[in-house]
Amino acid sequence: TVGAVALDVNGDLAAGTSTGGMTNKKFGRIGDSPIIGAGTYADNQSCAISATGHGEFFIRAAVAHDICARVLYKKIPLQQAADEVIMEKLVNMKAEGGIVGMSPKGEPVFSFNSAGMYRGYIDAEGNIHTAIY
């Protein structure tokens, strides 16, 4: 699965996710990636999210929307909201994976409870940062 979140000069957030699903999937199985609110969500008031992980759990936890809703209703930082969902809610469900997020101020956020997640961002000075573990 791959995904991206961005903030443009007009202050508009966007999120996108694309995937090949999971190896050996049957019966037309679909995970969270194409599910708005689970694998992808964007709202200028709160955040943009793209998720990757154990799709069935991400759907049940409405991961992307839940993170944005926590930012909006609890008025907490995006990183805290993401960690509440990924590191607590999903861990309690025994689900693995993570998200990349973007705040309305252009702050990139990562949260994952697996050993690694391919990820990267470009900071305010235009420097590129990438990481795996």
Binding site: V5, L7, G20, Y118, I132
Partner: protein, 192 residues
């Protein structure tokens, strides 16, 4: 006027102890290329929607990631792709599921968002819509990669249901162990 972009390329059991320097470098290089493409558009004043499409398409075109060209195989030995996109200003969204002939699924998700009254389209009929929107189509063979094919054969073999594999496929699995070594593809247990 601040612009920003961030990406992920999948999560899971990815351990440094298993990663070769060459493969690690390849992932970093491709992620930097993808980020740069989106960031360049943002700096030019383009929309965040356009930027993330450009970024995701680069990763879809890479065999490294489980999306587009690098998609894994289903139980039925096909490649089925899903994608979604959403913009935060008006909460517009588009998604597609289970397509097999769309080169860049994110472009079709975007077309669903801006050129239809719907949010999600699926399967063959979604590809009919794609053709009407002049979305680039490819033969299903385009998505074949040896890495993902051997990955499926190994899973089928491990399922102990040998009837799922033809004689040639069983032979292919038995010959595939060097190619499919953990050292070469340490991220193959990451989730979809």
């Amino acid at each position: 006027n601040k612009v920003a972009i961030a990406i992920h390329g999948g999560a899971g059991t990815i351990l440094k102890s298993n990663m070769t320097p060459e493969l690690e470098a390849a992932y970093h290089k491709k992620m930097k290329q993808a980020l740069s493409a989106g960031y360049k558009l943002l700096k030019q004043g383009e929309s965040s929607i356009k930027a993330i499409q450009a970024t995701i398409m680069i990763m879809e075109d890479s065999e490294l990631f489980n999306a587009g060209k690098g998609a894994v195989f289903t139980h039925h030995k096909t490649n089925e792709l899903d994608a979604s996109i959403m913009e935060g200003r008006h909460l517009n969204a588009g998604a597609i599921a289970g397509v097999t002939k769309v080169k860049n699924p994110i472009t079709l998700a975007h077309a669903v968002m801006v050129k239809s009254n719907h949010v999600m389209l699926s399967g063959e009929k979604a590809e009919t819509f794609a053709k009407k929107q002049s979305i680039e189509m490819v033969s299903p063979d385009y998505f074949y990669t040896e890495r993902r094919w051997q990955q499926l054969l190994n899973v089928l073999k491990d399922d102990s249901d040998s009837t799922q594999l033809s004689e040639d496929e069983q032979q292919s699995v038995s010959q595939a162990s060097p190619f499919m070594s953990v050292q070469r593809w340490p991220d193959d247990k990451k989730f979809g």
